[in-house]
Amino acid sequence: MGLFDKFQGLAAARGELEKLGVDPFGVEIERILSPTEGIIHGRRTVLAGTNNYLGLTFDPDCIAAAKRALDTEGTGTTGSRMANGSYANHRKLERELAAFYEMRDAIVFSTGYQANLGLLSGLMGPDDVVLLDADCHASIYDGCRLAGAEVIRFRHNNVEDLAKRMRRLGPRAADTLIVIEGIYSMLGDRAPLREIVEVKRELGGYLLVDEAHSVGVLGDRGRGLVEEMDVLADADFIVGTFSKSLGGAGGFCVSNLPALDLVRYSSRPYIFTASPSPATIASTRQALVKLEAGRDLRARLRVNYERLHSALEAMGYTLGAPPSPVIAVVLGERNEALQFWKRLVEHGVYVNLMLPPATPNGVSLIRCSVSAAHSSEQIDAVCRAFSDLRSAAGIVAAELGTG
């Protein structure tokens, strides 16, 4: 078995994409113009696949804060916090995140992926059990793997299934970590959080809620599904990212449990990574202020996603979930999805293409993420593209011989 033999499957799959003239995983945004617009293939394109839910990437105050930090603190920290020291602003951001959630403390990680990787691998060990919602993000699976913990999946959003699996664990259930997400990234559906909290209250265990796609989006102050469902006190750990609503890069975990501070010493992804750069920390701190006060942004976001959702539904598209900023259009067949995605880009609309096995149940998805920064005209343009393709959908299917 040669070193590169394992790539044969991948090479074949990519060759197939080249033959079809579609490159969904190598898109170059030649120029970024605003949170919601860029140049792709020389064409002005509405960006509707960015996770930029509040549109803060071009916020003047966030940019000014980042520039000031660049000038005063330099371009990078050149090391990990454990070995090379924390900057005062790393700790300030952690205290601000803890205060935001009214929790004891927070840890900042260098990426959102690393927040799950770092927390789970630091917290869990080979003798521990993690109960994962089957649709949890790859970073959660990878964190459990790095921990060497025993991983048990339960059927997506199925509270009965969770309870059944908890009961099977017997006395071990009391120390199990249940991991769920506020909004799931593929279909845009929410966790039945209150019911899950009930299971935890009855059978024990700890609860980790990954609010990557719901921070800034749900809840009056933007604290996510835990706030919207009023169960903040039942979440033992909340994980989130700076790279979506907060418009930066990085991730965090907050908790009321004193042991969180010890996770720093056991988390290899925390110990052996350079800390976030001063500019990133500065823009994130500013963005957090905007996010918390951003009821107007959340209201605008909601208007936008509800409009797109109802328009797509009216066109007869099958959608993955009730309205949320993640709107997944379910397309069954892979090649149909590829062609569809390509035509959307040709229509000046950039969205995400998601194929199995990254998707649940083997479906192919066209995934839109809506922003508060989308203008009414931009939402119109997205609707128009989908509508044009709806009438052309039969033609696409016929060309592929699937019609």
Partner: protein, 87 residues
């Protein structure tokens, strides 16, 4: 079927084959040497979803961690045998 710890290996094997038969709908002959990925063409996610079914069939927890050691139906049957004995 739930919670029966008296199951012996041939019975476990038969149960797994029955579960796989519903998945393959008879298109592939399933036996001890059947490779879950190679012969049945399952991807990693489909294998994990198959485990959910099998967990319920035997009323046990099968950690996702054991999957790297499971290539064939025999591997799976032996893992389940071990898990049932360990209870």
């Amino acid at each position: 079927m739930t919670g029966d710890i008296t199951l012996d290996y041939p019975q476990i094997l038969a149960e797994i084959c029955a579960e796989l038969a519903t998945l393959t709908q008879g298109r592939v002959e399933v036996g001890e040497d059947t490779d879950l990925l190679g012969d049945l063409g399952l991807d990693s996610l489909q294998v994990m979803n198959l485990m959910l079914q099998i967990e319920d069939r035997f009323d046990i927890s099968i950690p996702v961690n054991i999957l790297p050691d499971v290539k064939t139906v025999r591997d799976l049957a032996m893992q389940i045998d071990n898990l049932l004995r360990a209870r």
